[in-house]
Amino acid sequence: MKRSLRSLRKPAALLAAGALLAACASSGGGDSSKRKLPDVPMAKSVGAGEGELNIIVWAGYAEKDWVKPFEQQSGCKVNAKLGNTSDQMVSLMKSGQYDGVSASGDASLRLIYGGNVAPVNTKLVPNYATVSDFLKNGDWNSVDGKMYGIPHGWGANVLMWNPAKVSGELDSWGAVFDKSSQYAGKVTAYDSPIYIADAALYLMKTKPDLKIKDPYSLTEKQLDAAVSLLKEQNKNVSEYWADYTKEVQAFESGTSEVGTSWQVIANTINGGKKAKVKTALPKEGATGWSDTWMIAAKAKHPNCMYKWMDYIISPKANAQVAEFFGEAPSQTKACDMTSDKTFCDSYHALDADYAKQIHYWTTPQKQCVDGSGDNCTDYSTWVTKWQEVKG
């Protein structure tokens, strides 16, 4: 009897010690006070490269064609980690192992207020001067007049379909929402809670009595309506995609025939031999992204990061990445360097009014992002709802 109790004492003590240790461990930041801007210092100068650069990028942003010249020029070896969703990128940045990230609008503010990124000294980035003005000092990349990143490019989420299986020229998101039953079992959607905004956008145009003004500012009632629409869509979904290559493979193998996509995915599929796809920007408008390169608060290779930020928005590189991905470049001078001379026109790269119409990814918060009050649903609610949608 005594011995058995004895043999329990040691593990019990160790467990208690472990628990105490955990309780005493401090987390990073941990400020629950609303909107306190963490004080992160800004770089004053850019020195010699550190020889290495670890960045988190969207698929297609760091391809060999323009990364190799950068590596040769700067001596910074680039290790690019692909992020599939903004959530993943935020989480990766929090690990502290990366120097920078190509953050979309639904990641940027979280990173800023989380103390994970530093303000950018735009004087140290010469090419910033000729970036499109409407991308500077935006709501999503600056706070209190301080720029927290370098604009990369912007674009819209498109509707993509396989013309061999889907007839006609689709022009409405209805094809994947209330009219998706004709493609039962072949619809695909983006696997992230931010996709709820796409449903909200559709409802904004088709159910005006819901009074949705902004797809990221949803009251509980509006959110529930969007979630119901998505649950209906779920019945016809084949797969949700986060990894873009999974969507490529799904379309090529015939698993998916219609759904939301990025232009780079369509370019990849059409570049291969297995299938052909078409894309369109539906009449209801679209959600999209405006990406910003941000530098980590405690970057291990800050000089390389500054060099990269200046390089990626230089006219030639920005033109290359914009054409590869299929988005509007942030650099105005890039339009002279695209291989397709009408590229900037077809992507409305210099059209500020057009750019305003896209509903860029933004993090939903309790205080409505469109300023209409503070009864909106926040992102963590969206995350739970999204799991409900997938069922």
């Binding site: 467990l15 309780a23 629950s32 989480s91 989380g114 779920n234 797969e239």
Partner: protein, 293 residues
Amino acid sequence: MSSAPVGERPDRRGAVSAYFAPRRRTRLSLLLGLPMLWLVVVYLGAIAALMLSAFWSVDSFTENVVHTYSTANFHTVLTESIYRTVGVRTIVVALAVTVIDALIAFPMAFYMSVVASPRARRLLVVAVLTPLWASYLVKAYAWRTLLAPDGPLSWLTNGHTPGYGEAATVITLAYLWLPYMVIPVYAGFEKVPRSLFEASADLGGNAGRTIRSVILPLVFPAIAAGSIFTVSLTLGDYIAVSIVGGKTQLIANVISDQVTLNQPLAATVSLIPLIAIVLYLMAMRRTGALENV
């Protein structure tokens, strides 16, 4: 080593052994100490820390962890129906996979142990273990290919394939974990005295009766042991599901989706498979499965 008897040589060799010889408990503590330190402090400690974090929450905007104690996460997991739905689905899938694997493994192990020649026996065991060395990911992806709309199954059956969904998930998981069921069951069969078969036949039992009344009770602990693997591997799997499951979610998917930004909630949700497997282990302990693993 000198040839002189040990006791006559004035050396210190053996002094350490002589010191420890009567101190049985010290020896035991030393032997057990390091492994237990590792398992209890490192492993159980990590699990405990995880469970502790379930009481925390995240700032809804920055997603930094906030160290204020609350049971909000537990409330969420218990009231939101999604966790119940997915949890039940996962358990059902785990049981289905276990049953399928047991049904395939039993005759296989029976044949390998009882009917096959001794030379063939080793070959067959090797043949069962070899697939475990093929990458788990590649095997799952091979099933994705197999079940694709333009894949071999569709080609064979002229367009009929279950596609990606729960059925594909069950098939693929059953496939992946099959060797983990065959080996313990085979080991179980090895322990069955051959004389029992003859005795059963002498007493008038046919094959079915022999299996039901003689073999099954003896082999059952081994099947239970194999089931520990199939159940726990299924409860923890989120990768194979994402490859062949289509839009299906299992509990591990929910956990891995949440852990990105809401680690405390993920910790709370992970209590579901954790409790499930501990209960299962305790139940299987009674059947003697743990000695057969």
